[in-house]
Amino acid sequence: MMDRPRTYRVGWLKVVLLLSSVASFGMLLLAAYQENFTAEWRTHQQEFAHVLSVKATAANETSAPAGASVKASDYPIEIRQAFLPEWDKVDRCITCHVGIDNPAMQDQPQPLTAHPGDILQHHSADRYGCTICHQGQGRATDKEAAHGRVPFWDEPLLTGDFIQSTCTQCHHDEEVPQAPVLNRGRQLLSELGCVGCHKTGETLAAEKVGPQLDSVGSKVTRKWLHKWLADPGKYLPEHKMPQYPLPSGAIDGLAAFLMTARDDKIDNAPQPKGDYDTGADIYRESQCIVCHVTKLDYADNPVGGHIGPSLMKIGNKINQKWLVAFFQNPHSFLPHTKMPGYHFSKKEAINLSQFAIEEWTDYDLQDAEAEEPALPTGTPQQIALGKRLFAELDCAGCHELKGSPAKRDAPELTFIGSTPVHQLTFGDAKVPRTTPDFLYTKLKSPRSLHHKFELHPGEDPVDAIWENLRPKSLFSASQSLPDGAEGERLAWLLEQAKKAGVLEKQLALPSGTTAKQAHWLVWALNEVGALNPLKMPDFQPSDQDTEALAIALMSLSEVGAPSKRFDAPRRSKTVFDPKDEFGKLERHYRCLSCHKIRSSGELLASDLTYEGNRVNREWLYHYLNQPYSMRRMLTIAMPIFHFPDEESRLMSEYMANVFVDSDLGAAWKRNRDKADAGRGKTLFQAKGCMACHQVNGTGGDVGPSLTTQVPEFPHGTWVGDKLKGEWVYAWLENPQAILPDTIEPNLGLSDQEILDLTAFVLSLKNPQFQKKNNGDDKNNGDNNNGQVKK
């Protein structure tokens, strides 16, 4: 028997075995080490534990009794998570953001810091977790993955104000609390007319935001219309209507078509001739400046309101005959306008129109325009083209025009926020592939998110170009593609493009092969955007508005709370729209354009919700007839409407009886006998009320004067003449409860102090009218005294 004959050498195998074993063991150790020691979140939690113990020690030294200080080692280092089975979510964000619900961590940097604001108090982390609002990847435990900024995770962490877009999962009200940018964006979606073309579900009401066009042909000049369609910014820098990228042929057509929308009555009326100065008086009485820009200040900044359009150049635009008709009955021309109906007689209307035309004409522009050749009247072809374009571009989404209904066939936006990113068309744009980036870029420059049209091998270039030429209306009615050699057909295409005003007249096909010519034509048409199928105009919103809009669009999502239990309580919204006589008057005078009544209307002027509690009805009656400014510094007041007497009576009666809350300031009615005006006067001085309010000429100008003098006003105008005790009492008790945004401070007065102060305020009556109204004083607290005394 041989003893190990020619044994194969195994020495090196042993070395390899040893080395690879050691190396493998090392790898396993490394994995175990990384798993147990180096994870990012462990470091954060250790840091947090340290901060906790430091803070506890500090607290012990200063105040706490001899208690044991918190040891850093007592704090367990472990995965922490919010488990939300109903939402199918596990949020481990709190594994790193450990101090999120600990107010003491407010001073720490990320990720240990506490959640800002009081959001967590209303949205407990146990119930809502983190990713429902913030998005990101809740299950992940390392930073990049958890923040969702990794491939294959479609919902990266929302940054900045974009976080407001997730509120709407539970908050179904039109106004979402603490989400100003979202609310602004939604308002913009309506205001800019986005909802005119895009369907957006039930959240936003579709409203036509542009003027009605039924008589536009009688209203404006052809030249103006042409220029406006080509570039609205040239006429009005702050124009609302976006610019459509249209070739000149299309603009000719549209203008020709719109000029056919005429009103014979206006056309046939004689040319008005009025008096400028009388018109100017009417202009001032009517307070046009509240809503319209009517002049420029020394630095050429527009002065006036932005509720209506600027009036600066209407003389260059508007037909005076139309203006006269409009002043007499604005609502028949613009049914949805905020402009009140004034009681202008025909003469007054003529005078006012005279003033308007003379005052607001840019004479340089007028002279320049006079030298331009007159535009020829539209041919029937142009008019037909205009009608097709009007439909193609869905102008009816914003403008009402008889016989042209809105199509609203733009892509539906109801669930745009939850559309998977890979279904969004980013085109060739170099932007990150996320929904917020898509929306922002699309709104900022709609045409950048598109593939450039290219010729593909194997397809007929002429057919392909012809199919893709936009706007379609410009080309569809022209003769169909001719047969023939490719060179001829290309030349024919170029001719059509020139005819439509898409390409410059002097252009010609380059010499060379037809392939080269086709590519040149594509290039030329791409340059002018005639091969881009997008119909959306460029709104050129500011960065802020773009973000607000993008956020509002992000909020239009299919993703919602898994059950109704999570829904935020809906705040009941009572729309003020009475069908009675007062309602008729409101609709005529459009009170809600300036006043707020309950949750309807605007806060440009006073809130009328508690007007019956607030003011003495006789004062109100007189005020409607002769409004005056409440503040010395303010020249703007309510327009003088020249209400017929029965209307102002009805309105003051109605407000005194209906705009009343019997609980408001009820304590005053119960305890008015305990009030002492003398103590109130002392308090008035002690509390520093004079800093803002004037009494008899002394005091600040921040709040309204308490002793306003209005010459020739047939009623006392001092605060005691005007206001009722119950309202004053309620106001002093908590001004923000009545008017949330008021700067009147809540002084935290005791009941007795409020009583005394109220008594003092009410005692401020104009001595001239004191005697006359003596009898009324006692009735101030009641709501049911008889007729208004004249």
Binding site: M1, M2, D3, R4, P5, R6, T7, Y8, V10, L13, K14, V16, L17, S20, S21, A23, S24, M27, L28, L30, A31, A32, E35, I79, D88, V90, R92, Q137, R139, A140, T141, D142, A145, P151, F152, W153, D154, P420, H422, Q423, T425, F426, G427, D428, H451
Partner: protein, 548 residues
Amino acid sequence: MQHNESDSQRPGEAGQAVASGALRELWTNLLSTPQQFFESAVRHGRPTSDRAASQAVFNNVFLHILPTRINRHALHVRTTFGLGVITLVLFFLLVVTGVALMVYYKPSTAQAYDSMKEIHYIVPTGRFMRNIHRWSAHAMVLAVILHMARAFYTAAYKGPRRFNWVIGMILFVLTLMLSFTGYLLPWDQLAYWAVTIGSEIAESPRELTDALGVTSWFDIGGLIKRLMLGANQVGEEALIRFYVLHVVVLPVVMCIFLVVHFWRIRKDGGLAKPPESGPPESTDHESGQQSAESGEPGAAAQAAALESPPGAVGSAKTYGLMAVVRGRTPAVDRSMAHTVPTWPNAIYAIAALSMMTFFVILCLAHCFDAPLKEHANPAVPENPAKAPWYFLGLQELVSYSAFMGGVGIPTIVVLGLMLVPYLDREKENSGVWFSGRRGRRVCLLTALMTTCSVVGILAFTINFGWLRSWFPNIPQLMITLVNPGTVLLALFMGWSFAVTKQTNSTRMGALAVFTCFLVAFAILTYFATVYRGPNWGFYWSHSDWPVH
């Protein structure tokens, strides 16, 4: 162990003394238990002689799959490159990590993806386990293919190993099926759409039955698909089916065939070896050096009676049971001169190779995370939806004809390869790479021809299209029969016949056909991986893909 005689001599004495003696004995027994346990388990210490080493291998349930002595040729690196061992180690790794992953994985469409995230993010070392599993799976497919190529090129499919080659082909198919069924389990977009593609391929016989107009009563494609998915599309049923296949059915079947595979290696005479490593296998000369010590004389005599001329050296054959088997199996090494003891030589080689494989996989698992895309979404197709890499070559062929690419050609190739040992029966020497210089030249030429023809036909198809673009109304049957895939197949067949005729050798023909398939597989896989983009269009690079 030590028996205290004095205790036993005085049984009448107080029981205390007896007890104390027994207690002492118990104590000493306890002390020696570890050594006793070890001896009872291993039955021998560290072997110090060849005989002991042989005994060790022979007596150990795990080691006895190896012969006690092994041919030196088998231990050369270039004989096998250790591919079989690597494959086995990977399979072992897959089983171990797979069981670990099973603990956390939830096979339901609602929870599968989330459970992957849990494994990734919070299961202790879960991510590591999954990475090991994933990379081992890919590595195993690769190793199996290379192992097959090695076996083919060294002519190891010949002679007694013919059936083991067939078993090997079955294991190859099983490996692909295991990998494919595991592909769906993460329930992400990649999984979902790869398996959707797979199920469409399974349905592709419908292309043929449609063309023949017999689908209404013989819908084999639809049947396969429904069997596979349990529904009309990939969903809950498919997931649970794939899960059961992946964790129970296929591994068990795989184990059974693996055992047969290993068993047959031994019984077929170990690894294929060239003649210079031992006498030709056709002689019955046997070396029975070690068998004389450990064998069963009766059976050995029987064997000797059947197989060997009486009185031959070492006629006492050890494999008693085998002695009743007809023919020359089991063939064992005849010449002691070319063998070395398995312990330590082969054992250390295997151990070292296993550890190295393990280490490489650990490194991969440490550096690269297994992919996990978005949650599966039936509404959003991946574009391009690509099958796992090893099926991409087929997917390329599927783009020409679903039936031929997905079912026809793979079936022909697998069956063809299984048949090769039965068609090529030349008694040529196994264990020589490419069977020598002539074979090397044939392989090289064939590789060149295949590269040219595959690249050529791909370039042609991309530039000029195929029948459908020239004759839009051509019947589908025509395209099923004549498409780039079948053209290549026909070309390879023709080439192989030509080679067979030219060299007058079936072995050369077999080398040619296998090289054709292997090179075409590699090129098509590479091509489909790198140059195919959205809508299976051709793109020079990923950056040319139309941005979406």
